[in-house]
Symmetry: C2
């Protein structure tokens, strides 16, 4: 964890253990950090796995191998390296990932493709194999640790540890989901743009877990942006150990599937919000609600055009109800819109309706709203029933300082 904590930080929740999940951390020394940087999670035999990965075509070997391995549906371990993303490192980077998979598979006596590896940090430097090997050895010997320690260990430029949990009743059993995530910059929605891990004791078929995770992703990680830049390593994995001993979920026909899906949605949305709350330089958490679009997907795209507009983000940073910049962003989104049906509001107060400034617009409540830490922008396109909410943060001097005022 670097820098001062974000003013939008939330305290780490008291999260329950998940049966079948054991966390350990160690110091591989990928960077000259005075803290652990390697996280090792052991999963009980038979754990189901599902994943969503970056769509950046210059993705890392970790993403390539993980995308392939997730298809067989089972996982025994997760290794997360922090400080080096191992992306754009050619065959040497791939060899390092394969070495980690081999080493852990040998220890657990499981197939190599049941070991999932993620790496995050600088691009273009092959992950050093000797440090990885020694780090894994140290992790295998280490005492188990808790969620917060693991959440801290997967972080890079994050300013606070991020975790979320939820429960649901499935087949008369209480199932628990616990999750950690890292991410702060290079956050844009073409899947996830960060590393997130969700663990549950629910018994569920891998195919159904994948279906639920993909759907939850569309409403959470795909609806956030910090800087419109899509990472080469984004990964969200969900692991289900089955230790709750509920009747395994295989489809929405099964009792409790809706409850589990809702809990998974809840955890994904919490995680996505935490990433925005740690957006580089963020001073304000911004929710943008778009309705009246021709479809939900169109609403999401309009919302993201607003959320990615530097002029909108700087206006919010300046506590300026500059709805003209919102109009501009709607217009450039490339989605159906009609200037003369467009309405825009802040914090529940309309500033413009149907293409014109409101004659009796009272800026006082809007000005008060914009001074707060949590800002909402409402857009009604007036065309149809499509709706979506996206989340972002403001663009401040802090973002420039973090990304420009140093050399890599």
């Amino acid at each position: 964890m670097s820098h001062e904590a974000s003013p939008l930080a939330l305290p780490f929740p008291a999260m329950p253990a998940i049966a079948g999940v054991t966390l350990r951390v160690a110091r591989a020394g990928y960077k000259n950090w005075g803290r652990c940087d390697l996280t090792y999670v052991e999963l009980s035999p038979g754990t189901a796995v599902a994943g969503v990965f970056t769509r950046n075509v210059c993705c890392s070997s970790e993403v390539e191998l993980g995308r392939e391995a997730v298809k067989q549906g089972r996982a025994r371990a997760l290794v997360v390296n922090a400080g080096n993303s191992n992306a754009f490192t050619g065959y040497r980077g791939r060899e390092a990932v394969e070495q980690i998979m081999e080493q852990v598979a040998g220890h657990l006596e499981c197939p190599m493709d049941e070991v999932f590896v993620s790496s995050t940090g600088v691009i273009g430097v092959p992950l050093p194999k000797d440090k990885a090997r020694a780090g894994i050895e140290a992790a295998l010997r280490a005492e188990p640790c808790g969620w917060e320690e693991a959440a801290n260990t997967i972080g890079t430029t994050d300013t606070f540890a991020k975790g979320a949990w939820a429960q649901a009743i499935v087949d008369g059993k209480t199932v628990t989901l616990a999750a950690i995530i890292k991410g702060s910059g290079m956050i844009a929605p073409d899947m996830a743009t960060m590393l997130g891990y969700i663990f549950t004791d629910c018994a569920i078929e891998p195919e159904f877990l994948q279906q639920l995770l993909s759907a939850a992703n569309q409403r959470s990680f795909s609806c956030i942006t910090v800087d419109s830049d899509t990472s080469t390593s984004d990964t969200v994995l969900a692991f289900a150990t089955g230790k709750a001993a509920n009747g395994p979920l295989g489809s929405f026909e099964d009792a409790g599937a809706d409850a589990f899906a809702a809990a998974l949605d809840d955890v994904c949305r919490q995680l996505a919000h935490l990433v925005v709350r740690d957006g580089e330089g963020a001073q304000k958490f911004i929710a943008i609600s778009v309705r009246g679009a021709v479809s939900d997907e169109s609403a999401r795209k309009v919302g993201l055009a607003i959320a990615n507009s530097p002029l909108v983000k700087t206006a919010i940073a300046g506590e300026d109800a500059n709805w003209g910049r919102v109009v501009m962003a709607v217009g450039k989104a490339g989605e159906p819109a009609d200037r003369d049906r467009l309405s825009i509001g802040f914090g529940g107060t309309w500033a413009a309706r149907e293409g014109q400034p409101l004659a009796d617009y009272d800026e006082a409540p809007v000005a008060a709203h914009l001074k707060g830490r949590e800002v909402s922008i409402e857009v009604d396109l007036g065309l149809g029933d499509g709706a979506a909410t996206v989340w972002t943060c403001d663009l401040t001097h802090g973002y420039i300082s973090i990304n420009a005022d140093y050399r890599s």
Copy 2:
């Protein structure tokens, strides 16, 4: 002109007069500025006109009316209002534009649709009709002025006056092009994203002028970006008075058409570069050359993904040869790319070739190059023959200060 001049500013060139073009400026008082804010250009009868306009669907009435009027191909006057964009102002904004067109058409005894109007400034405030009427009256009485005064008068957040000119031999006659432009923020390439006006004494058919302007636009204004935000009012108009008395150009079959097209290209590229040089907060002028793409258009899109990446722009601001961020931007562009064929360089020095950091990469010349005011980034996708160059500036604290540290 506000703020201190951009460190990338160029001196205003000594530009020749264009026969058939008379410039005048006046003070309409749209904002509380101590300077002229209304530009009136009278064009001799028979002047051909062509135009390209913003694709932002929330465009202003000026853009709607101009896009319609340009189809008839002739122009007698141009009026540019600075300080109020009149965008998103409904029927009241449209009435103000029509009043200006009527007033000038009455004075010149010409059809209303031969009067072109542009406005730039704050969105959402109807252009005050009384100020516009009095401003036009003052302009009609004013003494003619020169290019630099007109260039200053059309500016808003611009920090320096921008002009460019070129000449070509057409049909044995020297034809001259002179042009002015304004633009600094809300600059993204979905046509032009600024106001630019090109005047020439060349005799040319309006349809052919439109064809040449549209083509030049694709290689100039459509290849620049400051902040990825597309204005609601962007307009580039070309006016040709025909006073050079060359045999009128109607197609590329005509002698001198190639020379005129090249001169027009040259002027458009000069204007586009000037806008980037006045990018809000700009400290460095960045040229991004992409080759090896599957098509020129694909190369342009990859270039713009790099040019619009906040992480690339802040890295250049920090004089950091962070080619990993360039990889990321290539990968998120949504265009064909192959990580393992990708090469990236700065200032002519390759940092990575075919998907891997160069073993003998010498950062010294790159570090020296990045300290300069003009930075180049070279990308070879290794796939095909497509190539394009795009231009942008870095993202600095200055951009945040200009756009966040004040209230509108």
